[in-house]
Symmetry: C2
Subunit: 428 residues, 2 copies
C-alpha cells in the first residue's frame, strides 16, 4: 500500500495506468483455437478439451435432467436471494426500455427510431473456483427484458463433467434457452461462428480469463459484436474525515479479493483518514480466507491524499474507475461532477457488493478507463435502434431542393435523380 | 444483373454474402503506420504524407482565415440546403436524447441511470473526388446535441493544401471545434493516441477507404472506441406490381454510383415487375456521368423474385441491408415485420437519398449485416450511461440477506463483510 500526498498533475497519467494485457503468445494461441473451431466446429471443441485435459461431455448441451438435479442442490436461502436480486435487476432494466420515437422533421417527412431486440445473444460464464452465478442474472435478465428471441450460454464444466448448480439454476430461472458445456477461447469462437451444436449468436457477453477476453477482442467487430473491452476489476473510494475507516477498508478488500490483478485506489482529503483506512485494511485482511490474493492486489494499491476536493474529483474522472464509491460528507455535490465511471456508489451504506449482486444495477462495467466511451451493460446492450422514414409526395417536394443541392455539390447525380424522377422538381 | 426466381433457403447464405475485406497486406501496412504515429506523433504524420506524395501543410490545423475563405466559396443555395438538413437532423436526434432514469428497486435502494456525454469525439471525413460534407452534418450535429465537450475532425487536403469548402463550412456551422488536415490510417492513429497537435479522442466516427477502416478495426476496443465496423454501402428494394419501375431503378442507381463495391439488391413478388426495373436501370444508366462505376456495381447486383411475400420479408431480415426501401402496396405491414436493417424507407416517395442528406435520420448505418447487432449512429453513440446507486441504512438491512447469501455461495467473503460491517447483519 503506497501513500501519495498531492501528486502533481503531470504524474497523474502514470498513476492512472493499468497493467497492459497485450501478450503476443496468448494472441497466437487464441488465433489458432479460433481457426480450429471455425473449421471443425464441435469436433474442434472436443479435441481442444482433450488436449487441455478437461472433462469431455458426451453431449455439449446441458439436459433438462441436469437442470432439475441442479435445482435440488441449491439451498432455499440462495434461491430466495436469487429471486430478490432478479426482481431488482429486472425492475431497473425494464425501466430503461426505450420507447419508439417519432418526429415530423418537416411537413410530410416522418422519422421514426424503433428499438428492436437483438435476436440471438450468447453469454459466457467462467468456471473456476467461484461459481459466478450473479453474472448469469446480470446478462440473462436484461436480455429477457429487452425481448431477445434466444439466449444461449457457454460455461466450462468441472473434472466431473458438472457445472455449479447455482449457475445452472440461475440460467434456468432467468430464461436462458440453451446451455453448453464448453469454456475458454473455444467457447467464444463457437458462439461467433457456430459449431454445429452451438448456434452462432449476434452478440457475445460476459467476463473471462485472458484467453476468453482475447478471443472476444479478436472476433469483436470482425465476426460478431461483443459487450465491451474487458480488463481486471477496479474500485476507487473517495473519502474524507466523515468516512468510517472500517467501511472504506471493507470496500477495498471486497475488490482486492477478486484476484491479484484487481486495482484498488483510495482518494482522500485527509492524511489521517487515509492512514486510518490503511490500518483497518491490515486488520481486516487477517480475518479473510483469500488473504493471499488480497495481499498481492494490495501491494499495488494506492492511497492518494489531495488538499482540495476539486483535485479529488478531477483525479477520479481522469482515472475513470469501474466502481466509484463516494463516501463523503456532501456526497451528491461530488457525484454530480463525475462524468467518467462505470457505476457510482453514494454514501456510507452503499457498498460495491450491493451493486455486484442485488441493488438492481448491472455489474458488467467498463474497466481500464473505458468509462470514457463505454456504458456498462444495460438494456441498450440487447437492442438495436432501427430508423424508419416515410415521406409523402408533398413532403418530398418540400425536401427536394435541399437534397438536390447537396447531392450535386457532392457530385452524386443519381442521388438527385431519385428525387427529381419522383416529384418533377427541376433545379432553376 | 442476375435474375433469380424463388432461390432455395439453403442458398440464401451465399446470396447474402458480402465481399470479404480481409487483406493481410493492408493490415501489415496499417499496423506499421499506427506504430509510427504512436511513437513519433506529428512528425510521423508529416513523414507519411511526404512518402505518399500528398501536400504537407505548414500547420496541420485549419485556421480561422481558411474557414472564412471556405464560407465565401460555398453558394447561397448549398448553404441554405445545409441549414435545412441540419435543422431536420438536429430535430430528430434531439428527440432521441434519453432522460435520467430513477427506480427505487426496493425500500431504501435507489438506482439511477444517468446519460453522460462522451467528452471528446473525433470525426473522420474522407477526401477524394466527392466532398462528403453531408457526413460532417451526420456526425457533428448529434455530437453537439448530445453535449460532447470537444469535437475534432480530421480530413485530408488536396494537392493544393486545401480542403473542400463545403466540408469546412459544414464543420464550422455544425460546431466542430478543431479541424486537422491529415487523412488515411495515420489520421485514425493520431486521434487514437494523440499526435502532439491532434489530441487523443474518446471515440472515433466516420467512413473511409480500406486503410481507414482497417485502422479503426485494429484500434477499436484496444485503444479507443469506434462507431461501428464498416463495409461497402448497400441497398435492398422490396417491390411488387404497384411499384413504379422508374423509382425503383433510380434508387438502385443512386446506390450503385457510390462505387464499384456497392451492393444493390431488388426483391420482388413479380417477375414482370423485376424485369421492368432491370430495363429501366439500363435506360437510366445511359444518362448518368458515373456510368462506369455504376456498371461495375450492377454487374454484381441481384434481382430476386419470390412467390410469397413472407419469403421476401424473411430474405430481407436474413440479408440485413444497410438501406431497405419498402415500396409495396401494403408497406407498413411489411415494415412492422422487419427486424434487421439499418434504415427503412417506406412508400413510393421516400428515396434513399432523402435519408442520405436531409430527412433527419442518420446516414452512418451498419453494413454487411451488422444490423443484426448494431444500430446506426444515433444520439446514444455520443453518450455513456453511468449508473448511480444510493442505499439507506434501512435499505441495506433489507438487502443484506440477499447480498450475503449470494456472496457466500460465490465464495467471496470480503463481499459479504462489506455489508455485515455496515449493518450488523449476521447470518442465522
Amino acid at each position: 500500500m503506497e501513500l501519495l500526498i498531492n501528486p502533481a498533475r503531470k504524474d497523474w497519467p502514470s498513476l492512472c495506468l493499468r497493467p497492459s494485457s497485450d501478450n503476443p503468445e496468448v494472441v497466437k494461441r487464441v488465433n489458432s483455437i479460433i481457426e480450429r473451431v471455425r473449421k471443425d466446429g464441435d469436433l474442434a471443441l472436443k479435441q481442444i478439451a482433450e488436449e487441455i485435459d478437461v472433462f469431455i461431455p458426451y453431449s455439449l448441451e446441458v439436459t433438462k435432467d441436469e437442470l432439475l438435479e441442479a435445482s435440488d442442490k441449491v439451498s432455499a436461502e440462495v434461491k430466495h436471494a436469487i429471486e430478490t436480486a432478479s426482481r431488482n435487476i429486472a425492475a431497473f432494466h425494464k425501466a430503461q426500455l426505450p420507447r419508439e420515437i417519432e418526429v415530423e422533421t418537416q411537413k410530410g417527412v416522418r422519422c421514426i427510431q424503433r428499438p428492436v431486440p437483438i435476436s440471438r445473444v450468447g453469454i459466457y460464464i467462467p468456471g473456476g473456483t467461484a461459481p459466478l452465478f450473479s453474472t448469469v442474472l446480470m446478462l440473462a435478465i436484461p436480455a429477457r427484458c429487452a425481448g431477445c428471441k434466444e439466449i444461449i450460454m457457454c460455461t466450462p464444466c468441472g473434472k466431473d463433467g458438472k457445472v455449479a448448480p447455482e449457475v445452472l439454476y440461475s440460467a434456468s430461472v432467468c430464461g436462458v434457452d440453451r446451455i453448453f458445456k464448453t469454456g475458454g477461447a473455444q467457447a467464444i469462437a463457437a458462439m461467433a461462428y457456430g459449431s454445429g451444436s452451438i448456434p452462432a449468436v449476434d452478440k457475445i457477453f460476459g467476463p473471462g480469463n485472458q484467453y476468453v477476453t482475447t478471443a472476444k477482442q479478436l472476433l469483436g467487430n470482425r465476426i460478431t459484436a461483443i459487450d465491451m473491452p474487458a480488463g481486471p476489476s477496479e474500485v476507487m473510494v473517495l473519502c474524507d474525515d466523515s468516512t468510517d475507516p472500517r467501511f472504506a477498508a471493507a470496500d477495498l478488500l471486497s475488490q482486492a479479493e477478486h484476484g491479484a490483478d484487481s486495482q484498488v485506489m483510495l482518494v482522500s482529503d485527509s492524511i489521517d483518514g487515509a492512514r486510518a483506512v490503511m490500518e483497518e485494511v491490515e486488520r481486516q485482511t487477517e480475518t479473510l480466507d483469500r488473504a493471499d490474493y488480497i495481499r498481492k492486489s494490495l501491494s499495488k494499491s494506492r492511497f492518494i491524499v489531495f488538499d482540495e476536493k476539486k483535485e479529488m474529483v478531477d483525479f477520479a474522472n481522469t482515472y475513470g474507475p469501474e466502481h466509484l464509491i463516494v463516501s463523503l460528507k456532501d456526497a451528491w455535490s461530488v457525484v454530480d461532477q463525475i462524468y467518467c465511471a462505470g457505476s457510482v456508489f453514494v454514501g456510507a451504506y452503499t457498498p460495491e457488493s450491493a451493486g455486484d449482486y442485488a441493488s438492481g444495477t448491472n455489474h458488467t462495467l467498463p474497466t481500464c478507463a473505458w468509462a470514457r466511451s463505454y456504458s456498462g451493460v444495460n438494456i441498450d446492450s440487447f437492442l438495436k435502434k432501427m430508423t424508419i422514414q416515410e415521406i409523402s409526395g408533398e413532403g418530398l417536394k418540400g425536401l427536394a431542393p435541399t437534397i438536390v443541392a447537396m447531392a450535386e455539390a457532392e457530385g452524386l447525380q443519381a442521388h438527385a435523380n431519385a428525387v427529381t424522377i419522383r416529384c418533377g422538381y427541376e433545379k432553376k
